[in-house]
Amino acid sequence: MSQVQASNSGAELNLRDDFPALLQEIHGHELVYLDSAASAQQPKSVIDTVARYQQHDHANVHRGVHTLSHRATEAYEGARDKLQGFINARSRSEIVLTSGTTESINLVAQSFCRPRLKPGDKVLITHLEHHSNIVPWQFVCEQTGAEMLVAPIDSRGQLELDALEQLLTDDVKMLAIGHVSNALGTINPLRKIISLARERDIPVLVDGAQAVPHMAVDVQELGCDFYAFSGHKMLGPTGTGVLFGKEALLDDMPPWQGGGDMILEVRFDGTVFNELPYKFEAGTPNIAGVIGLGAAVDYLEGISMDRIAAHEATLLDYLMQQLSAVDDLRLIGTAEHKASVQSFMLGDIHPHDLGTILDHQGIAIRTGHHCAMPVMDFFKLPGTARASLALYNSRDDVDRLCAAIRKAAAVFA
């Protein structure tokens, strides 16, 4: 299934054939998909796993005594175990299944922070954050009278660590920070930042949505308190995600939503909540999606995250080099440590016009503000064009992109 091809620059992956959606033509051209940071395509193994479950094994989980319910429960809980291993959590109780990163962060904001925050307290985020790691904190600050602080970035799109350290005062009750910037690709130096926070007993939530598809993540090694990520960016179905939380913290937190499955006993005069992680999983979950996500973990681990990271690092270097060679093209986000993403502007052509012209050559990129408007404001841009890479991309994709960009320039010449 998966192949590795030898090349001058080391082992490059050649996985395109595993992804049915990539094997099509758009406007008469073979599709080049460079929008995986928005949502990644799914390998056939994920698609088949979901279809097989729907056709043969579907029932509700944790309930019936019948065979299908047993099969569904086994597969669903099996996926949780895979996810635990994928990020090296200490226990399966620390893996809360959610609808995605957004729900995971809202859960922490409302269930962990809201009862703890009081007026005068601070929540620290960074200028690089995606809206889903900004707005939940604005909500909880408004609800509690706490204040949201923002750690600054430099012109390459890197965090200013000294400034961040100065902002980590005793009043800060949560540091919420992305692992990899979705708009710029910056990899934040999390180990250093988390150790600074831990010295001051400040809990840390990491938005890992853009990291888990591209590099091995070990939450114990990172030492973060919470780690949030989405299934659909790591080759799984949409509507799936994970909140990792340290068991002692999760234990201490009240449930996030009420409903079935999150209870042990319900009486009209009171309810006994279920144990972890079920306390945070009210209602019938996205069973098929989570089972598909388990298959995505199998696929990624079958290749190995280290090999994926190496392949993408080589490809990102090539992408940056080739884009830099295009006349009048400006790279946005040039951090020293980057993953998978390159934003850019072509002359004075608006990103949406560029996106339309590239689409007509079969090339899918993202254009706009990437749900990171503060980052766009920082660079004084209404938006950018963004090419984002995944394990299935190749040098040929980069070449096609650059040729298409040159043609776009000709349209506006």
Binding site: G28, H352, D353, T356, H360, G383, A410
Partner: protein, 155 residues
Amino acid sequence: MNTVASMNTDELRELYRELIVDHARTPRHFGALDTATHTAEGINPLCGDKLHLYLQIDTNGVINDAAFEGTGCAISLASASLMTDTIIGLHSKAAMAWFDQVTASLAGEQESIAHDKLNALQGVREFPSRVKCATLAWHALRCAINNDTTATKTE
């Protein structure tokens, strides 16, 4: 594969006609209008296009002057530029007749726009994801004429 000829250039040329590129590059009536009697805001929050439209309408209902400012893609800027160029000197009812023609044409409900310049916009209909860019200024026009001060959007 990667030759200019193999890219669907006809459709693209329809979209980015010279007139569109010209109006996007050098938009007419761009800026604020101190004498405005009617204004409206058009914002497409997902794509980030923003425009502010100013009209000076006299007591007879004639649009004596029009201007706009804002940021957006070539299609939205060109549409706003062509629109202001067209409606200056028209009665607001006549301007709204062009609104009807442009929006009907972009919705695929009528073939062409019976105006040599505005007709340049009809190439947009082959690009469904871009129709909202072309119609933003026009919906702002409708709001301004109707004294509707809520920001309009087309996405």
